[in-house]
């Protein structure tokens, strides 16, 4: 097989695990947290922003069990092993200790299960007996309990920072769930649902281990814009995936049987695909929940992750910024040269690997954090059914270029028209949802058709179409509000942020990491953070974040930064404006607009003559048919292209029929195109003139007739349309010049005579033409 890997570890962020007393990857804020001698360092995975906080009190600390940093990095909460006190460290204030264990509970064995920040001030304390919603009081240097939830024994929990949802595993058998969503001003309790199966605590097992085990295979992820709680359990000697779709009012369940027989497994979600890793057999299988059961794309064959090696030199020494710079450079080099001697092959599927939702992997032994990246091309190639393949790619978020490549290949290989036709319908159905955007652009560039028939028939249709697309959008929003999960993120209709940063963006950011242009990245990230956080907590002060990172720098530098930041912000805003809506529909499908089809598929094939024109014409006709049937206004360039292909094949009568049946709209540009092909297809001139007449473009008609040197026809047209008195002196002069150019005294005299009334006021001109007339007659007589 040519492609052996579907998944690879991507964008590693390195650290030296031996150097630190405590380290973890916080998938909420996407930071790698490193703790060493009272200094907490955070490195953002995507932007590589370094942040640090020095807490002298923790200089000799070795007992850290939990370390949670608030999103704005102003507060750190620490819990220690076998200690019922959490300590909260303030950036600008004295630390605070908080006894979370009620005195009454001391004998029962109260265990802290976790601490999770909701925003910059609120956090959750999860213990095996209750869930507490706490808030940091900045002014009073204290904490306040907002609410406490007593839900009986809590065995474990899973939390999604993105959606602020916590699911607690409760009940006698650890199968009941209690889920809450924390919104800025309210907390919503989601419906209780039963987990399919949960194992009981083994006699020798400690409470903490048991709870950790409970958490391990439960995660909240977003798949196809729906929120799911995913559970992986072993059932009948096989691992089964249970998906609980979290809705406001109900929970729906579905399950997928995997082919993994072992107990050791892990789960990641990339681009709405479920990656189930068999840690023992060291293979990964990819499941697509949208594919039907008989679809080839439902599951991929089990393959290992692509071998991965690291360069030892690249290990980050966080102490000096210089070395970081070097690291960046060296990383670049090693990417280029993988056979470098310093490369160290990493053992894949290590037992110690920590999988964090949605697709992070932390290797605590070799010291790196990665994300899983799919090789969509390899997966697509493995799907032999063309239709399944395209549908699979359409469901992916970054598959446009691959999709285009496959469609192109299909056309080059003269795939059956019926299949292409079906594919176009599928693709255009998706495109239909956002096509009205292009509509509005169309109307700017092309004037609406003004025939009687078209005015009567087309324009209400267009109106209806636009109305329909708008109502469709409303429908989408309604759907979102009703059926999908209570997802805070989903506020701005189609402007939903995808699953983290798209990979392209990520790789760009990685480059930036290499160059170490921290400031720039910091600012963009801050902007992003701000936009994200605004939805949750409007109290966040952006300057605080700024101060945090540039703490020791002088004020001038700070001002400069702020200015830069503002500029950057403006640029970002402009960028957003320029890009318009992202080209993904609410289902997360790839949208292939007409311009993509033309620029990346049809035109290159035409230019390279990669396929026979006749076949290309068939394909293009299918595409236009598909657009038409979905009431998507077809862009003029496609018609222009179709005409060109037909001209190349000398299928003139078909061009005429397309106009006759009003398939080709009456636009100025197409009329001019027809006028231009007069030499090879003389009747095209009639099409052009008819079209322009319909559009009442008299000036253009005169210009075209004159360009063909048809002076008499021009005069007849002017006479018939009663335009004589409306013409400018300039136009009259041009017509007379053309009449003179014909060198026929009869034509010139007719034209001159025709415009007598208009010329009489201008004596010089009159005389000039009189002379020309005499000259022509003289010449004629000499002949």
């Amino acid at each position: 097989m040519q492609f052996r890997y579907y998944v690879e570890l991507f964008s590693p962020l390195y650290f030296n695990p031996k150097k630190y007393q405590f380290f973890k990857f916080d998938n909420s804020i996407e930071d790698l947290i490193l703790f060493q001698k009272g200094r907490i360092q955070g490195i953002n995975f995507y932007s590589n922003i370094h942040s640090s906080l020095k807490i002298p009190d923790l200089a000799n600390e070795t007992q850290i069990q939990e370390l949670e940093i608030s999103p704005n990095k102003n507060y750190v909460i620490i819990s220690r092993k076998e200690n019922s006190i959490i300590e909260i460290f303030f950036r600008f204030n004295k630390p605070l200790k908080y006894e979370y264990q009620p005195k009454k509970m001391k004998k029962i064995g109260f265990t802290l299960l976790g601490i999770k920040w909701l925003d910059n001030l609120n956090f959750l304390l999860i213990s095996n007996f209750r869930l507490e919603h706490m808030q940091v009081l900045t002014n009073k240097n204290g904490v306040k309990r907002i609410k406490s939830y007593n839900l009986g024994k809590i065995h474990g929990f899973t939390f999604s920072f993105e959606n602020r949802i916590i699911i607690l595993i409760t009940g006698k058998n650890a199968t009941t769930t209690n889920a809450f969503q924390f919104r800025p001003k309210q907390t919503i309790k989601l419906p209780i649902f039963e987990l399919k199966y949960s194992r009981l605590k083994e006699p020798n097992e400690t409470e903490r281990n048991y709870c950790l085990e409970m958490n391990k295979n439960l995660m909240i992820v977003q798949i196809y814009r729906n929120l799911y709680c995913v559970q992986l359990i072993q059932e009948d000697k096989k691992v089964k995936i249970y998906l609980y779709q979290l809705n406001k009012e109900s929970i729906s369940t579905c399950s997928i049987e995997t082919m993994i027989p072992r107990n050791k497994f892990a789960l990641s979600v990339v681009d709405s695909l479920l990656l189930v890793h068999d840690m023992e057999l060291k293979v990964t299988m990819i499941y697509d929940i949208r594919a039907s059961d008989d679809d080839e794309a439902k599951i991929t064959s089990p393959l290992s992750i692509k071998p991965f090696s690291i360069n030892e030199k690249r290990l980050i020494d966080n102490k000096s910024k210089k070395s970081l710079k070097n690291n960046g450079k060296s990383e670049k080099k090693t990417v280029k040269n993988e056979n470098n001697q310093n490369n160290q092959k990493i053992e894949l599927y290590k037992d110690q690997w920590v999988h964090l939702p949605p697709n992070f992997v932390l290797d605590p032994v070799d010291g790196f954090v990665c994300i899983y990246k799919l090789d969509l091309y390899s997966i697509a190639v493995s799907i032999t059914n063309q239709l399944s393949r395209v549908q699979f790619l359409l469901r992916r978020s970054n598959s446009k270029s691959i999709l285009i490549k496959f469609i192109k290949t299909m056309i080059i290989e003269n795939e059956k028209i019926s299949l292409l036709s079906y594919l176009f319908d599928v693709i255009n159905n998706i495109y239909n949802t956002v096509s009205y955007l292009e509509n509005s652009k169309d109307t700017q560039t092309e004037k609406p058709v003004i025939t009687i028939q078209n005015d009567m028939i087309l324009s209400p249709k267009r109106k209806r179409k636009i109305k329909r697309s708008r109502s469709f959008e409303k429908k989408i929003e309604n759907n979102k509000n009703q059926s999908t999960a209570p997802n805070i993120k989903r506020i701005g209709s189609v402007f939903v942020k995808g699953p983290k940063l798209p990979l392209e963006k990520l790789s760009k950011l990685k480059d930036l990491r290499n160059i170490n242009k921290e400031k720039l990245v910091k600012k963009t990230k801050q902007n992003e953070n701000r936009k994200q956080n605004q939805e949750i907590d409007l109290d966040i002060n952006l300057d605080e974040i700024n101060v945090f990172d540039e703490y020791e720098k002088d004020k001038n530098q700070k001002n400069q930064n702020q200015k830069n930041q503002k500029n950057q912000k403006k640029k970002n805003q402009n960028k957003k404006k320029r890009n318009g809506l992202p080209k993904t529909n609410p289902d997360g499908y790839v949208v292939l607009p007409q311009s993509d089809f033309y620029n990346n598929i049809f035109f290159p094939l035409f230019k390279r003559k990669a396929v026979e024109y006749e076949f290309l014409e068939s394909v293009l006709t299918e595409y236009i048919r598909s657009l038409n049937e979905l009431n998507i206004p077809v862009q003029v360039f496609l018609f222009s292209f179709l005409i060109e292909i037909l001209l190349q094949q000398k299928k003139y009568s078909q061009i005429y029929h397309l106009v006759q049946y009003k398939v080709i709209p009456n636009t100025e540009s197409l009329a001019l195109q027809f006028a231009g092909v007069f030499s090879s297809y003389p009747q095209a001139l009639c099409l052009a003139l008819d079209g322009l007449k319909m559009r009442k473009e008299s000036d253009l008609i005169i210009q075209i007739l004159l360009s063909k040197r048809r002076v008499m026809q021009t005069l007849k047209f002017i006479h018939h349309e009663k335009l004589k008195n409306k013409l400018s002196l300039m136009t009259i002069q041009t017509i007379l010049e053309f009449a003179y150019f014909a060198q026929d005294p009869l034509i010139f005299f007719t034209a001159w005579n025709f415009f007598q009334d208009q010329l009489k006021d201008n004596e010089d001109l009159w005389k000039d033409y009189q002379k020309k007339n005499e000259l022509l007659i003289e010449k004629w007589n000499q002949k």
């Binding site: 025939t451 009639c686 014909a742 034509i747």
Partner: protein, 499 residues
């Protein structure tokens, strides 16, 4: 006019003067003469007359003359190939007049149109060419005798299918215009049809061209205009000549089938082909092949005619016609395409197209009724010379009878179309511009005529369009007709560029 005896076919013959080298072999120049019963003397007389006329007319013009008007008969002659002349003689319509006690025939010698009759000749040659190619080819490849036998087989049957009575617009003005009646189709449906044709082509690469007719209306053709016209003419005049639309009550009733002669004969017979297809067209079955794998008396017979679509296209095609209710699909396959003699080919083809054809047919049937309601205000006939589209729109509540109007219409059209070929082609040459202008002035491009029964007919011609407008208002003058013309133009043709 009620007692008018309509024009009748008199005779038709083909001659080639070069075949006779002496007076003794004079009869050799007559290649075909119909009716056969005509005496040899009369045959020779008629041939001699035309020979003399064509030769004599050359002394006045570089173009040979093409018609002769006599009191009793009208002669039209056409030379499709060098030295081969096709001549048609039609007896003029007449009425009886009493002179004393004697009943005397009074001939109306100006009621026939040269344009129409010439077109009939041209059409007959076109159809002959489709199946046999040129006369000269047949002589070169075989012999004059062979040509004679082919002509004797083809023309009697062909002529028997032509109506010379001059009683309908189709037989007169339409024939002269030689156009195509298009079916009005919504753009989405047109694209759908185009796509279906592409699919057929992609699935069966031997299919080179296709054409689709809805009753006698053209919906789709992948051929260029001239070829399309030939094929359209063949389908309408020969195959669907007797075909009644679905709307007529007779549809669905099984018609008595015509027994074919020489059924087992291996030699191609035009008569058998057309009669065979006509029988199948009348068949009650909704979907089946008319040529290709056909079911005759519960036996599958595979017969595929070979045709040449036009004189400019030397490609030889095998024609398969598929019928789905009142929709006719013509597929033109590369000559000697394999698998054509296997039933599986037709089964596959039928599976691919059946459903889509049914659905297209349904849509066309529904769309037609709506379409007919438009344009009912004016009575007109319209012809577009670019796509050869002819359109006839006659109000059902009109106050005139068509039989009254036809002679007048024929006269107007004949005059209007007479000099159509005289406009110089080099219109882009500035030097011919004025000449063209003058010629256009000379050629009538607008004729207004009034009949005794106060029916006004306006015939108008521009370089690409011809239309005839019929007004049935009484007591109107030329000015009001002019106004009506303006109204008509602005209502229906304001989007056309007329020069």
């Amino acid at each position: 006019m009620q007692d008018l005896n309509l024009s009748k076919f008199h005779s038709f013959f083909i001659y080639n003067s070069t075949f006779s080298k002496s007076e003794e072999t004079e009869t050799d120049k007559i290649i075909f003469y119909y009716p056969e019963t005509t005496t040899l003397k009369e045959q020779l007389q008629n041939v001699g007359l035309i020979e003399a006329l064509t030769a004599y007319s050359l002394s006045f013009s570089n173009k040979k003359c093409n018609s002769l008007h006599l009191e009793k008969n009208r002669y039209v002659f056409f030379e499709p190939e060098k030295d081969y002349w096709l001549v048609l003689i039609i007896s003029n319509p007449f009425t009886y007049k009493m002179k004393g006690n004697e009943k005397i025939q009074k001939f109306k010698f100006n009621l026939l149109s040269d344009q129409t009759l010439l077109q009939i000749l041209k059409n007959s040659y076109r159809i002959f060419y489709m199946f046999y190619q040129t006369f000269n080819d047949l002589v070169q490849k075989n012999s004059v005798l062979y040509l004679k036998s082919i002509l004797a087989q083809f023309f009697p049957f062909y002529l028997s299918n032509i109506d010379f009575s001059y009683s309908s617009i189709e037989n007169t003005v339409w024939t002269a215009l030689d156009g195509i009646q298009f079916c009005s189709v919504h753009k989405n449906l047109y694209l759908r049809i185009k796509c279906l044709m592409n699919q057929v082509k992609s699935n069966f690469p031997y299919v080179k061209n296709s054409m689709l007719l809805f009753e006698k209306n053209l919906v789709w053709s992948s051929f260029e205009t001239e070829e399309t016209r030939n094929l359209y003419h063949f389908m309408c005049s020969q195959v669907l000549g007797q075909y009644k639309s679905t709307k007529s009550k007779e549809f669905g009733k099984e018609k008595p089938t015509v027994k074919l002669e020489n059924k087992e004969s291996t030699v191609f017979s035009y008569q058998n082909l057309i009669l065979g297809i006509q029988n199948l067209v009348a068949d009650i079955k909704e979907e089946h092949f008319l040529t290709g794998a056909t079911l005759i008396e519960n036996k599958v017979v595979i017969k595929i005619p070979t045709i040449f679509v036009s004189e400019s296209n030397t490609q030889k095609y095998q024609l398969i016609i598929y019928k789905s209710r009142n929709l006719f699909l013509l597929l033109f396959l590369e000559n000697e395409a394999p698998n054509l003699n296997e039933i599986s080919f037709y089964q596959k083809l039928s599976t691919l197209i059946r459903k889509e054809m049914q659905s297209i047919c349904e849509l066309l049937n529904n769309g037609q009724d709506e379409d007919e309601k438009i344009d009912q205000v004016f009575n007109y006939i319209y012809f577009n010379s670019i796509n050869l589209s002819v359109k006839q729109c006659l109000n059902e509540k009109r106050n005139f009878s068509l039989t009254d109007v036809i002679p007048q219409l024929v006269a107007v059209s004949d005059e209007l179309l007479r000099k159509k070929s005289q406009i110089p082609d080099e219109i882009d040459n500035p030097k011919t511009q004025y000449l063209r202008f003058i010629i256009e002035r000379e050629i009538p491009f607008e004729i207004i005529s009034q009949s005794k029964k106060s029916v006004w007919i306006v015939g108008k011609k521009t370089s690409n369009h011809v239309f005839f407008l019929i007004f049935d208002q009484k007591n109107v003058n030329l000015n009001s007709i002019e106004e009506e013309m303006e109204k008509f133009s602005s209502a229906l043709f304001k989007d056309y560029f007329f020069d």
